[in-house]
Symmetry: C2
Subunit: 247 residues, 2 copies
DNA sequence: ATGTTTATATATGTATTACATAAATAATTA
DNA sequence: TAATTATTTATGTAATACATATATAAACAT
């Protein structure tokens, strides 16, 4: 489980990604994980051609993908350098996905959860105000999916992610919709960090149903409040896990 | 004024962008503006090579940039198709910049402002709670910049943008910091839509100073509230402008 | 000895040609 | 008529050559 689940959720799991994409992922993962440090010059095109046994065209394509995500900076005569993290396109789906495989970082997950706390309660409110019947049905389907549990931890997390995605979509704002990656990344990293079976939080599923009910009842105020509560509970459990980790 | 100011703010204004970037911008602008419609097949590589008088390598690089932003979908044997807007990487800086030059769209600016309303008040609160002295100084400098007005509308807008950016940075969350583009895009489009001199809103500048003061006083509650008020006022003025537009 | 200019090495940028491969369409055959 | 097989179209990859920006080293003049 991990990055692969992320790509599943994004339906971006092509059977055989093109060669430049494969190389870009390989390099991207290493950069995000910190294996290749910021400011470092990576191998030149000739060496990479050798290492990955592909033509220069493929290498250059791969590098260009990472330049687009702000991970690399290419300058002729000099080479290709890893950009400082502050300049990465953090909202990018691949960058978010690669973080799932990176070494656990408490500060990072805190930032993700803060962002969720900023957006999702508002999204719930807007969903209550303007969700279409289809969007409502999608949210409820996700709740049902969580309730069934479906046997595996992985499937439970996917159902959880689908719930939050459905709420974002119901809010009918393209920028919110485009934020689903933050949720996937946060959920997947949380599970790894706490190292707990999320299904054991007995209250969690009913919390989700309550949010759905508030949205279905078009009670924006309540939907916002409950979503905030739901997220703060998740954050609390994360902090508890950190505390245990230390000891 | 327009897209160029956006790039100024992002400090991305290279004197001479590489040829692939030039071609990508040309195509990107047209797609975002809707000149090239969704689902359309764009010209094939040979034709584009002809039109722009560059090699196939350059065309392919340009196309690949737009693929990275979700604007194009390339499939061999078929050609290159404009993806539906729902799949664009709306958070991308270039995509946001190109929207500034696109035909005015009320629904779009509403979405941008809703997003600002979701995260900026929270950002102000966090800024009040954790801003460093340097970050505080940056915010105040921006307020002073607005107060001086500096003669031109353009410079005033830039000062305004710098204020909101400084607040985001002060909140010390990398994902917030990476959202500055939304603010630039929203400000630039707003000015075009209302077609008013923003300096004429006499209350606006003092509102900004009030927000700064709350942050400096570490009063998160107040900072959040004032920012919400400031944004709602901006939204109200936008709606008034729309009303006048109709008549 | 120091500062400036000039050559050279290095690495990416662009152009060109050739061929591979996926997808759609047309032609052929059972 | 349906299934199969060419053929066409357009992108994917490879290889080579040369252009150009940058840094480093060498030569030179003061």
């Amino acid at each position: 489980m991990s990055e692969l689940v992320y790509y599943d959720l994004k339906r971006a799991a092509t059977m055989t990604p093109s060669m430049p994409i494969q190389v870009a992922r390989e390099l991207g993962r290493r950069i995000v994980a910190g294996t290749i440090e910021e400011g470092t010059l990576i191998d030149d095109e000739a060496s990479l051609t050798e290492r990955y046994q592909v033509s220069r065209v493929v290498i250059r394509d791969a590098v260009k993908i990472l330049v687009g995500k702000g991970l690399l900076d290419v300058r002729r005569g000099i080479g290709t350098r890893v950009k400082p993290r502050s300049q990465w396109v953090l909202w990018d789906d691949d960058v978010l996905a690669w973080h799932v495989n990176a070494p656990p970082n408490q500060d990072y997950i805190n930032q993700l959860m803060d962002i969720r706390l900023a957006f999702e309660p508002k999204a719930s409110r807007w969903a209550a105000e303007r969700a279409t019947p289809e969007a409502l049905a999608e949210i409820e389907a996700a709740v049902v999916g969580m309730e069934l549990e479906q046997g595996s931890v992985e499937k439970f997390i996917i159902a959880d992610a689908l719930f939050h995605r459905a709420v974002l979509r119901a809010a009918r704002n393209d920028y919110l919709t485009a934020m689903e990656g933050v949720i996937y990344s946060a959920l997947l990293i949380s599970v790894q960090l706490t190292n707990q079976d999320p299904r054991k939080n007995s209250s969690s599923v009913s919390f989700h149903r309550d949010v759905y009910q508030a949205i279905a009842d078009k009670d924006g105020e309540l939907a916002e409040k409950l979503t905030k509560k739901l997220l703060k509970d998740a954050i609390r459990r994360l902090h508890e896990a950190f505390a245990n980790r230390e000891s």
